[in-house]
């Protein structure tokens, strides 16, 4: 194979991408997503961990209290972000519906040391952001009350957990796990998937537009043509992934070992691109190839996620700098698998290239 020919094909494909200005759509898309970013940041974090929302609220909320006296009142009084109002239950629920209070608790007359449980009823507003905040705050109060009740009934217990004393965590939101454990690997993976879908478009288009004959009449061989396209797609992976990491850096999210992350992304991306190329060479038709590839992608993705020390996990560990040298071993393994697949693609492309023009 001639590297110059491969380079020529790759350059032609990259020029085609920029002349069609399709890349503009990709940029528009990223700008569009950036516009939503504040919403996404709050929204996605909340989806991942609803308790993080608590950090966004600084106001005090009113809570309606109905029913019998209990130690719960004392628990509420310890907090300055919840204000308790003693109310009649009907009044309190009507006030909740008008959003005059944010939650209502009803406590029955069960004594603390009773045989059965204390059944507290908690009323919240349905499917509402504010309810999520209140829920977290009230949960902490109720946990305090539960602890108190457990102490009252302690003589009825048999086993005791190991005691741990936690420092005051100060509450507040924490994006760390969401950003490093989910967002970064997904953002880095995205370009790999886009590139793999792109190679299918590039290869099937040659077949469906019948432009192969023209291409084959040049000194470029079929295998060189395929590898040129693969190279064009592969170049885009670290460039896009690097752009994401830079953007995160501008937003104050420092990512450790960026170079190693990009290496992993490039190796994994090449694997997916070659897989796409193989599917495209086999089907020679976009609909079938994309359909099979996207199904295969789900299988590969699920399988990879279920294996310890998978490349995505390594990216997380690299980003937070808790990885040992073991990641080089995994990188070598992925590279080996990719080389094997690459050999397969080359052999397949050679066979197709040597076949008679009618059979192509």
């Amino acid at each position: 194979m001639n590297t110059r020919n491969i380079g020529l094909v790759a350059k032609k494909e990259l020029l085609g991408l920029s002349s069609e200005k399709t890349i503009v759509f990709a940029i528009l898309l990223q700008v569009f997503i950036a516009m939503f970013s504040s919403f996404l940041m709050v929204g996605l974090t909340a989806m991942y961990d609803p308790e993080a929302i608590e950090g966004y609220s600084t106001v005090a909320y009113g809570v309606g209290y109905a029913g019998a006296d209990s130690a719960l009142i004392g628990e509420f009084e310890k907090r300055d972000d919840l204000i308790l109002h003693r109310m009649d239950l009907s009044q309190a629920l009507a006030a909740l519906r008008d959003r005059k209070v944010s939650a209502v608790v009803y406590v029955p007359e069960t004594p603390p040391d009773a045989e059965g449980p204390v059944m507290v009823t908690l009323y919240l507003i349905q499917n509402d952001l504010q309810s999520s905040v209140i829920n977290v705050k009230v949960k902490e109060v109720l946990q305090g009350y539960e602890k108190e009740l457990r102490e009252v009934r302690a003589d009825r217990m048999t086993a005791f957990p190991v005691e741990l004393n936690f420092p005051d965590s100060g509450g507040g939101e924490n994006f760390f796990e969401f950003v490093y454990g989910l967002l970064i690997p997904l953002l880095v993976l995205l370009p790999a998937i886009v590139s793999a879908a792109l190679i299918i478009d590039l290869i099937t288009e040659e077949y469906q537009r019948r432009t192969l004959e023209t291409l084959m009449s040049t000194p470029v061989t079929f295998a060189e043509m395929v590898w040129g396209k693969v190279a064009a797609c592969e170049v885009l992976v670290p460039v896009q992934a690097g752009a994401w990491l830079l953007l995160l850096g501008f937003n104050g999210i420092a990512v450790d070992n960026a170079a190693a992350i990009l290496l992993h992304a490039s190796a994994g991306g090449l694997f997916l691109i070659l897989l796409g190329a193989l599917v495209a060479l086999h089907y020679r038709e976009r609909t079938s190839a994309q359909f099979i590839f996207s199904t295969a992608l789900v299988v590969v993705f699920l399988l990879v996620m279920a294996v310890p020390y998978n490349p995505l996990n390594l990216m997380v560990r690299l980003a937070v700098d808790t990885v040992g040298p073991v990641h080089w071993l995994i990188l070598a393994l992925v590279a080996g698998a990719t080389a094997l697949l690459g050999w397969g693609v080359t052999a397949y492309a050679r066979r197709v290239g040597e076949a008679t023009p009618e059979a192509r």
Partner: protein, 601 residues
């Protein structure tokens, strides 16, 4: 051949063809992949997700403590004696010495601490669940009840806080009617065995697991839980519906998009065009199988999820909308990669339009602009009224019909097989709608037809800017609304100027501007009366649809806007289109802001 029979012929032909191209080699492999998928899913369920393994390092001096964090893959635990741990404490995110927890003062340390606290809660619950006296270990049970409360659109405008106001002094008095409520019973209605089983089930929950239960609904437990199980409600649970309903439908529409594209590749559709079957029958016939399949998929998912069948009603316009866009994208893209990028772009826009309003379901009437909100309401058991159905789906129906119409008029040889760039192809599509004999009537109609798209785009900006603080959101909304309107009004003129440069004389420009201004106004009025009455009454509405109060003022404004853009085109040619558009947009925004300030005072 009658229209119905030719549609049937095309539909059957489309089914056969896609079955043969797909069937030969794809179906066996797809079936194989499906089996693999099941196996892998089983494996993944067994092995767990290993994405966040080893994120945190934790140093402990007691093997008993190490056992607490052992089930959580996020921690890598190091066992050492206390002095060595203290010396190397900066190498760890958390150090636990004799039951005292020390966390690094970094974001990572705090995140690790939070995770550890949750693991510890799980561990304490686990120990407590083994107690013979269950109610000594779990003395407190919470019965969680939700109350519905909807804010009307004017809430923020009239200065009412969305969050409840608090006055420490006296309890607030409800302004609405008070219904008498009987206090809930104090006895536990669920047996002790059920409670134990339930506690054994909920061991250590991973944050992502909560989403698996959204569709399947509640368990035998009802609403009873211990305080530590009290997880916040899902404000974003509609995202699950997007995954479950919208993605399969969108995925299927891709096949239609490809089928349209395949007609154009290598002039394959030439034979089809030469038959006596008209373009309308071809397009409807080609779309029909996919429409049927999408409906069947939606029915299957609905049955599987056990949701009421009425949720299909709001899904139908969404399906039509996807198909209509698939048709236009398939007809306009030059190459496969363009097809991919444009369709990904479109799907992001459409998903945001569908998803973001649903976040405000139950909270705010703005949510009703998305048909998906109706699905949410219906699954909750609240249902929706016929009026709400019209509100949220009218734009989808209108845009779909117009897009299908555009597709049908352009389904001709010279349009399908040309290799022009995307933008000029789209301009071609528009100019196909402008008749040579009656250009002004065409411009009038065209301006009217752009209204549903203008509304959709403006709705998207409304959703987009909704959560930005008030003065800024109004300014952004004003400017973007003006830009969208000016752009929509100018496309007809631009298409004419492109196709027939000689047409653009001062006289024709004036006539055209009047025609467009009138068309725009009439379209706006018609659609507004039919739909968004609630939103137009709010302050946001008065930004978007300011022009409805007095009739002659907006008419002059609309005409002036087109005239500005048109004059730029007339004087300096097509290159001046963008500056002209900006100039018109500035004038439009100033006008809107002037009236808005008047409205605010």
């Amino acid at each position: 051949m009658s229209l119905a029979s030719s549609i049937r012929t095309i539909a059957v032909w489309e089914m056969n063809r896609s079955m043969t191209t797909m069937g030969r080699s794809v179906l066996p492999l797809a079936a194989g992949l499906l089996v693999l998928l099941l196996l892998v899913t089983a494996f993944a369920a067994e092995s767990g997700v290993h994405m966040q393994d080893g994120m945190y390092r934790i140093g402990v001096d007691d093997p008993e403590v190490a056992r607490i964090v052992a089930p959580d893959g996020r921690f890598t635990a190091y066992l050492d004696n206390g002095a060595a741990l203290w010396e190397n404490r900066f190498a760890y995110d958390i150090v636990i010495l004799q039951g005292e927890v020390y966390a690094a003062d970094t974001d990572k340390g705090r995140a690790a601490l939070k995770t550890l606290e949750r693991d510890y809660e799980g561990y304490v619950s686990y120990v407590a669940a083994g107690e013979p006296d269950l109610f000594a270990a779990y003395p407190l049970w919470i019965d969680l009840q939700y109350v519905k409360s909807e804010i009307d659109f004017l809430a923020t405008q009239s200065g009412q806080q969305v969050g409840a106001p608090t006055d420490a002094g006296r309890p607030p008095a409800p302004s609405g009617p008070v219904e008498a409520v009987t206090p809930p019973a104090s006895a536990m209605p669920v047996s002790e065995e059920t409670l134990r089983e339930h506690l054994a089930d909920t061991g250590n929950n991973h944050p992502l697991e909560r989403y698996t239960g959204v569709i399947s609904g509640g368990s035998a437990m009802g609403d009873f839980r211990t305080p530590s199980e009290l997880s916040a409600p899902l404000p974003f649970d509609a995202i699950i519906l997007v995954f479950v309903f919208i993605f399969p439908l969108y995925f299927t529409s891709q096949f239609f998009m490809m089928s349209v594209m395949n007609e154009r590749v290598g002039r394959a559709g030439e034979a089809l065009l030469s038959t006596p079957v008209g373009p309308a029958a071809i397009i409807v016939g080609k779309a029909l199988p996919y429409f049927t399949i999408m409906i069947l998929i939606a029915v299957a998912i609905t049955l599987f999820a056990g949701a009421p069948m009425t949720i299909l009603l709001p899904l139908v316009p969404v399906i039509l909308f996807f198909l209509a866009n698939a048709l236009i994208i398939g007809m306009a893209s030059r190459s496969f990669k363009e097809l991919s990028f444009v369709s990904i772009f479109f799907s992001t826009l459409a998903t945001s339009y569908l998803f973001f309003p649903t976040v405000f379901a139950n909270t705010h009437v703005i949510s009703i602009i998305s048909p998906l909100t109706l699905v949410v309401l219906d699954i909750q058991g609240d249902g929706f009224t016929a009026m709400e159905f019209v509100y949220s789906t009218a734009l989808f129906f209108a845009t779909s019909i117009i897009l299908f119409y555009v597709g049908i008029t352009n389904f001709r040889e010279e349009r399908l097989f040309s290799q022009k760039p995307l933008t000029s192809r789209l301009a071609d599509f528009v100019s196909a709608g402008i008749s040579r004999d009656h250009p002004h009537i065409s411009l009038f109609l065209l301006a009217g037809f752009t209204i549903p798209f203008v509304f959709m785009a403006q709705m998207l900006t409304l959703v987009l800017f909704f959560n930005i603080p008030m003065p800024l959101s109004l300014v952004l909304l004003t400017v973007s609304a003006a830009f969208i309107e000016e752009f929509a009004k100018s496309i007809g003129l631009y298409a004419v100027a492109r196709e027939r440069p000689g047409f653009l004389t001062p006289k024709n420009l004036l006539l055209g501007a009047v025609a467009i201004g009138f068309g725009f106004l009439v379209g706006e009025k018609l659609l507004l009366f039919a739909t968004l009455a609630q939103i137009t009454e709010s302050i946001f509405g008065s930004v978007l649809f300011l022009s409805l109060q007095v009739l002659w003022m907006p008419l002059l404004l609309h005409i002036a806007g087109v005239l500005i853009t048109g004059t730029f085109l007339l004087l300096w040619g097509r290159r001046a289109y963008l500056p002209g558009l900006v100039a018109a947009c500035v004038v439009h925004s100033l006008y809107n802001l002037y009236f808005l300030l008047g409205a605010l005072q």
